[in-house]
Symmetry: C2
Subunit: 176 residues, 2 copies
DNA sequence: TACAGCATGTAACTTGTTACATGATTCG
DNA sequence: CGAATCATGTAACAAGTTACATGCTGTA
């Protein structure tokens, strides 16, 4: 899976500008994919050059013009071929869990701070995803629902573990 | 967080060869970090050149020699400085969830196959991590326990969602 | 003898990030 | 007027992957 595949997939669902794509990635994909403008725009240019998508300049009221891209037949075929390729392993780089792993090397107060910050952040992420789910659920396909439920359950289960862990740590500290 | 930081962290815990590091990453880190030999060996070479670690060749019985690396004072300082830097956001690239997101575009039988494969794989991952936990728990720090519990709860919660989702899909298919 | 595990490394390549650069429009 | 949002793009750089290359030892 490359950014190219994901962009083609989004354009299968509907035509988008580069800016639209970024917004959508942040809204729906945040917990399993991300692409920066530095990836999106060059990829769109390449895709157009290769004839997998076409560009159309669209004027807007009260906003700058935007370049809306649509998928072509060749683009559909390329996406089809991605869907039939082997599924790659998840690639996860979690700085947060790496820190926790080495948490014995910092002052307990620092570690507790990490846990508290982690809990707050995860709460925000879970709430946002939950809200997105409730808002968009009606228009989602069954597999999209599974997708977003995995995201939510990930956050909520992480939250439980963090809270329990924090309580355990504080208890141990007070006993000393 | 770069591979360099994580390698320094591992060498804070104990001296290792490149091969050892790879084994450890696979055993304990698999759900939040990974590095290939193509990353590990060049990084070790650079770290040694920069004076953050030292190399010692160790002969072994029945096995090839290995280069065991140990962290230096400068290396400790570098790792310390990583521990005090801002925590970066998790970076997750999940081809599996991307496929699910676009699951409406494939035949329902294919989608069901993806879910079944996903369930089997997640079961294996959860079982492996659980076994690792039981085996190493005694020697783990409190924060390492939180870390591995997050991994396990991630897998188990994903499993539940996948199973429920699969059941829902099958039900919907039979009604037609 | 062939395969699996142990062990180290390189080089070309792909990918993506960060920072920079620009500019229109709306709202307070 | 300044900040925020909408909108597009580039260039230098960092990072990591993949495939290749080598060679030992133990076991079936």
């Amino acid at each position: 899976m490359t950014s190219q595949d994901v962009i083609l997939g989004m354009l299968m669902l509907r035509s988008c500008s580069g800016y639209d794509l970024k917004m959508r990635f942040e809204a729906v994909f945040s917990y399993f994919f991300d692409a920066s403008y530095g990836t999106i725009y060059p990829t769109l240019a390449k895709l157009e050059k290769d004839g997998l998508i076409t560009k159309e300049s669209v004027a807007q009221e009260g906003k700058p013009n935007k370049n809306v891209y649509s998928i072509t037949e060749r683009g559909r075929a390329a996406f089809e071929s991605y869907l039939n390729s082997d599924i790659q392993n998840d690639a996860i780089k979690s700085d947060y869990l790496v820190r926790l792993f080495f948490g014995e090397m910092v002052d307990p107060a620092v570690l507790i701070g990490w846990l508290e910050k982690g809990i707050e952040k995860t709460e925000r992420q879970a709430a946002k995803l939950q809200a997105d789910y409730e808002r968009w659920e009606a228009g989602m396909s069954p597999s999209q629902r599974i997708c977003i439920e995995i995201g939510i359950s990930n956050y909520t289960s992480r939250l439980e573990v963090l809270r329990r862990g924090l309580a355990r740590l504080k208890e141990a500290l007070e006993k000393e």
